[in-house]
Symmetry: C2
Subunit: 220 residues, 2 copies
DNA sequence: CATGGTAGGCTTACGCCGTAAGTCTGTCAA
DNA sequence: TTGACAGACTTACGGCGTAAGCCTACCATG
């Protein structure tokens, strides 16, 4: 009874509740809004109480990275490798767009959480099954993920709303004088005229890589 | 005469001296060691004096990014486009390895400094000259740079010294149980045996992309 | 029941951080 | 000689991560 009253008064803190709250805080305010004090406040608790469940802020960051990686669709064995890799990469791209702070965190630290290991293992497995050697699968996975992270981070930092890209280009054109930056200037003109939408496609680079890998797999 | 004495006592602070010192501080201690106080100390000055030459820390970060981008070899017009792009990407990769803090900074902010604009413009120009349309050149540049940033950041965060990779794999093998992560486990075994060196190559993904672009350029 | 260990809150305090606001001093033009 | 100004310096504020220690409610044991 006393326990009932108490647990009603405040749901007990757990490592899991801390990490999920951290994801929410970062989703809402960006990673720079994720301080131990604000995280604690979001849980109705004081900052130092968090340290009963996580060793330090680093552990919080590692934890939320693994939660996000756990949201990525992992390739099921047996499928057409190219379709499976395309799906996996697209899923990763979508998840990373959903948590805009996550890409930077993933690439800026060593991640060996269970979700990350499972993610890499399933990827290697899919490629192995398709006939790639261990070494080739390793390189292939690395090349695909370089594109996933590189493209996604660039897309997230693209300064303009794509739907207003033409307007933005018109506004910034004076900063790109034709004599000093002729090709950027010409590109901006095309965007303004609507000749070139200017938006980059995740699939463009991805298909180059997948096609190249298929050539290697089939021995040209 | 008095001026001589004074300027001998302390070389005058300038925006340029501030930014160059910031690159040195970051090169030596990592980006997290770059605080306004430490930067000022490196210049023999108090923190607030820096604000006479830069508006705030953001401007310092923008400035050192542009310095680093300025170190990248920019493609000269007229050359074989594939060789020029390969050289440009490799140069960028090398520069980013030389300033390990720079990649994260480049991809996590909007960069419109003169070196960055020049860099992008020269790249577009080289691709245009090779026959790519504006839109295709835009996509090609984005795909190549996604690889450059994605691969380099992953390489910089790789937790082991490549020369001791086999040892590291032996040490970490118990953390990768064969029943849960069979393919990662098998890969680690190959690294331990020396069958697979395990090191990733920048050129692997790059050549896939360049070959794919050449196919597109030549219309298959 | 009584009791004492413990889990998990809480408070306080320290040394960093970026930077707003204001002050002091040496130089140079009028 | 003077007065404006550039460019240093000092002080102070609120926020940060977290070390150290305290307080209270629970539970197992007697």
């Amino acid at each position: 009874m006393a326990r009932t009253r108490d647990s009603r008064r405040r749901a007990p803190l757990t490592r899991d509740r801390v990490l999920r709250a951290a994801v929410r805080v970062a989703d809402k305010g960006g990673i720079e809004a994720l301080s131990m004090r604000k995280l604690a406040a979001a849980l109705g608790v004081e900052a130092m109480s968090l340290y009963n469940h996580v060793a330090n802020k680093e552990e919080v960051l590692d934890g939320i990275v693994d939660i996000v990686v756990g949201e990525i669709d992992v390739p099921a064995p047996g499928a057409d490798w190219k379709a499976a890799m395309r799906r996996r990469a697209t899923s990763a791209h979508e998840v990373l767009l959903r948590h805009p702070w996550a890409s930077m965190l993933i690439v800026s630290r060593v991640n060996v959480g269970p979700a990350m290991l499972r993610y890499v293992d399933a990827t290697l497995g899919c490629l192995r099954e398709a006939g790639f050697s261990h070494a080739m699968a390793d390189h292939a996975w690395n090349a695909i993920d370089s594109h996933v992270y590189g493209f996604t981070i660039q897309a997230l930092n693209f300064p303009f709303d794509p739907s207003q890209y033409a307007d933005a280009a018109r506004q910034f054109l004076p900063l790109i004088p034709a004599d000093r930056y002729p090709h950027l200037h010409a590109l901006a003109l095309q965007v303004i005229e609507g000749t070139h939408p200017g938006v980059h496609h995740f699939g463009f680079g991805l298909e180059l890589i997948l096609d190249g890998l298929e050539n290697l797999r089939a021995g040209r």
